[in-house]
Every structure is written in C-alpha cells, then in structure tokens.
C-alpha cells in the first residue's frame, strides 16, 4: 500500500513539473505575441506620421528620416527586451 502511494506520487510530481513547463511556454508565447502587437502599432504610427511630415515639408526630409529611424530603434529595443525575457521563460527549468 505504501509503495503504491509512492508510485502514485511520482507521476503527480512529474505532471506538476510538466504543467509548470507548459504554462511557462504558454506565458512566453502569449507575451511574445502581445509585445509584437505593441511594436507593430508603435512603429506603424511612426512610419505613417513621418511620411505625412515629409509630404508636408519635403525639404526637412533628412531630419525627419533621422528622427524616424532613431525612434523606431528605441521602440524595437523595448520589444526585443520583452522577447529576451520571454526566451528566459522558456529556458528556466
């Protein structure tokens, strides 16, 4: 009886571990998707407003292009930080 209980506890502990791992994967996946939505919205807005600004004032296009690239890289930095932490979820045992 005692050994039977011990045998039953083994798969339970395993199941908990697998559930934790798959929950971590689920969290990482959802996190990555949400981060990507944020990045797409942000960089899309920057691109759209930069193009509008260039259309309104073509002689300032060099300045606007520089500012657009800088801001896009900053937003990309935040997104990739989210992706790196999602990767961390996958790698934690």
């Amino acid at each position: 009886m005692h050994t039977l209980l011990m045998l039953l506890q083994e798969p339970a502990a395993d199941a908990v571990k697998t559930a934790l791992n798959s929950n971590a994967l689920l969290g990482a996946g959802i996190g990555m998707g949400l981060a990507l939505i944020g990045a797409g919205l942000g960089i899309g807005r920057i691109g759209g407003q930069a193009v509008e600004a260039i259309a309104r004032q073509p002689e300032a296009s060099a300045d606007i292009r520089g500012a657009m690239i800088l801001t896009a890289a900053l937003i990309e930095g935040a997104t990739l930080a989210a992706l790196v932490f999602a990767l961390l979820f996958k790698l934690i045992k």
């Binding site: 520089g66 690239i69 800088l70 890289a73 990309e76 930095g77 935040a78 990739l80 930080a81 992706l83 790196v84």
Partner: protein, 277 residues
C-alpha cells in the same frame, strides 16, 4: 526510421559561446579549457567569441589604417580619395559630423575617437556573424554588457568632469525650472529615484537592444534552415532558401543599423550630460 532533428539544440549550439572553433574542411580548433578566476565561477579563458572579437579588432585596425594611408597618399598628390578609401572616409566623416558632434555639441571632438571605435568595432563584430563559419561576438550578452559598461563609465565620468560635483548632483536631484518651495521639494523626492534608475537603465537598454537584435536574426535564419531538415523535401528547401536569402539581406541592414544606433545613443547620452543648462 529517420530521427527527427533537434533544432533547438542546433540553434543554441550555433549562437552560443563554446571552446571549439569550427573551420572549413573539417578543421576544428580546440581552445584551452575554462580558466576560472580563483574562488569564483567566472570563466576568463579564450572562447570562440573572444577569438572573434580579437579578429574583429585586428580587422578594424588593418582596414581603416590601410584606407587612411590610401586617402593620405592621394591627398598628397592633390587628388580626391577613390575606391575603398573614399568609402571609409565617407563613413568616418558621417559618424564624426552627423553622429558625434551633432549630438554632443561643442567639445565633442574629445569623444569622436570613442564613438568611431564603437561604431566600427560593433559593425565588424556584427558582420563577422554573417560569413560562413562565422560567429557573432555581439550576440553574446557579456560582450554587449561590456560595451554598455564602457558607455556608462564614459557618460558618467565625462558628465562629472564637465559639470562639476554640484552640477552632477543637480542631474540626479532634478527640479524642473521655475518651481520653488514645497513644489520643488516634492518634485525632487519623486524625480531622484527616477533619475537614478534612468542612469542605470539607459546603458542596460543599449546592451539588451544590440544583443537581442543580433541573436534574434540568427535564431530566425537557423530556425528556417532547420525546417529543411525537418521536412526533407526539395520544394520546401527551395522556398526556404529563398526566404533565408531575404532574411540575410535584412540581417545586413540590421548589422549597420544597430552599430549606428549604439553610437548614436551613446553620443546622445554623453551630450545630455555635458550641457545641462
């Protein structure tokens, strides 16, 4: 029965550091094993990324020096530069004028060598990963952490020397202009932790941005190539190779862009600390 390939293991083997350098024709160089600083687990031995960093540094020195000599030789003959020297001169002048001096303001000439070195070293490290049998040193969190540490030290120490102790303290205990009395004290109490955290977070973001951009690109390319092994089908292989070619062109653009962004943000942060008024 064909065993399914372990793509995750392949990706991690290709992008992470190791003590083994693989070269064409089956040549393998085994680097000396881990040398730990006595009493800690910090490994200071030569690894693949360290060797590639040294290689990138030697390459930067040789190519830029050669280009400089070419430009100088044609300058002595009274003609404009041509060829490789002209390309390097265009990039060096771009980094000096539009990145360093434009963002640091007057007194920026002192920092031009640092910004130039950061730009070209990071660029060469990024590009080395795109060659066959190459590795990306900047795809290693320790390497980008070291570069961000250098940027952090230069920003803070140069700011301290330019503003003096009192001025430097004003950048931490920050009070917006024109507030006095209780409002000023309240703002100072709120803004001081924010400013302190900002000082740490900005170089940390530099480090993380460069690392994640480089590693993400390689992960995508290696995952797509792993698809070929997973499906073992000629049509899928053809389509995948075309897509991987496009992704590698994007990687080329990202290599240049990330080097430029690192240099640009470092000079912006230095400039912010130099002129607080």
């Amino acid at each position: 029965m064909i065993q399914a390939p372990d793509i995750g293991k392949m990706i991690l083997d290709h992008t992470s550091d190791s003590h083994l350098i693989e070269l064409p024709f089956g040549v393998e160089i085994h680097l000396p094993g881990p040398w730990y600083i006595p009493g800690t687990h910090i490994d200071v031995s030569l690894t693949k990324h360290v060797v590639y960093m040294m290689f990138a540094a030697v390459l930067v020195f040789l190519t830029i020096w050669y280009a400089g000599r070419q430009v100088e030789k044609r300058h002595r003959e009274g003609k404009g530069p041509r060829g490789f020297g002209a390309a390097v001169e265009a990039m060096v002048l771009f980094v000096r004028d539009d990145v360093a001096i434009a963002n640091i303001g007057h007194g920026g000439e002192k920092f031009v060598p640092l910004i130039e070195t950061l730009f070209f070293f990071i660029l060469y490290c990024n590009l080395l990963g795109l060659l066959p049998w190459g590795a990306t040193p900047t795809g290693n969190l320790a390497v980008t952490g070291g570069l961000a540490l250098i940027a952090f030290l230069v920003i803070e120490i140069a700011g301290f020397r330019a503003l003096g102790p009192k001025g430097y303290l004003k950048t931490i205990v920050m009070v917006p202009a024109g507030m006095t009395g209780v409002g000023a004290v309240a703002m100072a109490v709120i803004m001081t932790p924010v400013e302190l955290i900002g000082k740490i977070v900005k170089p940390f973001a530099l480090c993380l941005r460069l690392f994640a951009n480089m590693t993400a690109g390689h992960f995508v390319i290696l995952s797509l190539l792993g698809l070929i092994f997973l499906f073992a089908n000629w049509f899928i292989a053809a389509g995948t190779v075309a897509f991987v070619l496009f992704m590698m062109c994007l990687e080329l653009l990202v290599a240049f862009l990330q080097a430029y962004i690192f240099a640009l943000l470092t000079s912006v942060f230095i400039g912010l600390m130099q002129h607080e008024h």
